[in-house]
Symmetry: C2
Subunit: 153 residues, 2 copies
C-alpha cells in the first residue's frame, strides 16, 4: 500500500491507481455515450429505471449514491430529452414517480452495448482469472465499507 519509509509516493497508494484507471474508464465511456447525447450519470439513471418500471427520485438518489438535488437536476435534463417521464404521486402530495419513456426504454439496450464495449476495451487486457480477481477484490471492499449499489428495496 505505502512505503514504510518517510514520505510515501503517489504511486505507493492503491487509491492512486484506482483513481487513475477509474477516471480514464469513465472518461472513455463518456466519449462513447456522447454519440447518443447521454452522460455517464444519465446512463446510470436510465439503467436503474430499466428494470423497475417506476421509482421515486429519493430512492434513485440512494441507489445512485447522489444527493436528491443532483437527481432533481438530472431528472430535468432527462425530461427535456424525453427519455423519462415524471408524474405526481396520488397518495402523497410531495412524492413523484419517475419512469422511462418509450424512447428512453428503447435507448437503454444501445447504451448497454456501449458500456459492454467500453468495459471490454479496458479490462479485456486482463485474463478471465485476473478479471474475476479484480471483481472479487472490488466487491469485497465495497461490501466491507457498505458502499451503495443499494438494491431498490
Amino acid at each position: 500500500m505505502a512505503r514504510k519509509t518517510s514520505v510515501s509516493e503517489l504511486t505507493d497508494h492503491l487509491g492512486y491507481w484506482l483513481r487513475l484507471v477509474s477516471n480514464n474508464v469513465s472518461t472513455a465511456f463518456a466519449r462513447r455515450l456522447e454519440a447518443e447525447e447521454v452522460t455517464v450519470a444519465e446512463w446510470f439513471f436510465l439503467r436503474a429505471l430499466f428494470d423497475v418500471d417506476e421509482l421515486a427520485p429519493s430512492k434513485l438518489a440512494t441507489v445512485m449514491g447522489m444527493t436528491r438535488g443532483a437527481i432533481s437536476k438530472l431528472s430535468d435534463r432527462l425530461l427535456a430529452k424525453r427519455l423519462i417521464e415524471r408524474s405526481d404521486n396520488l397518495d402523497d402530495g410531495r412524492a413523484h414517480t419517475l419512469r422511462l419513456s418509450g424512447k428512453g426504454r428503447a435507448l437503454v439496450p444501445k447504451l448497454a452495448r456501449l458500456a459492454d464495449a467500453n468495459d471490454e476495451s479496458f479490462f479485456g487486457v486482463l485474463s478471465s482469472e485476473e478479471q474475476a480477481a479484480l471483481r472479487r477484490a472490488l466487491e469485497k471492499i465495497a461490501k466491507r465499507h457498505g458502499l451503495n449499489h443499494t438494491p431498490v428495496d
Copy 2:
C-alpha cells in the same frame, strides 16, 4: 465483464465497481484532508512538487493529467494558502516555475500519512496477495492504455 444476454446490468461492468470504490476512496480521503484544508487535487499537486524542487505548470498538467487551465486555478489557490511559490522564468518570458514553500514542504509528510491511513482503511481488508494482484491489474491496464502518471521528464 458483461452478461451475454440482452441488456447488461450496471454491476456486470468492472467499470461500475471500479468507479464505486474509487469514488468512495477519494471522497473518504477528501474528508481526511479537510482537516488540513487541502483537496485531493492539491495533495497530488504538492506531492508532485515535493521531489523535484521546481516544475513548470505545463509539466504538472501532464503529470497530473489535467488541463493547463485547471493547473492555473489550482496554483492560484495554493498560492493563496502560501503552500507554493510561483516565479517568472528568466529564460522564457512566458514560462513560470512552481515550487513548494517552506510551509508546503512541511505539510507534505503529514498529508502522506493521511493518504497512507486512507489507503489502509480501504485496502486493508484485502490480503497482501490480493493487494498485489489488484495493483498488478491496475498497472497493467494503465500501461496498456498509456495512462498518465507520466514521470517528470
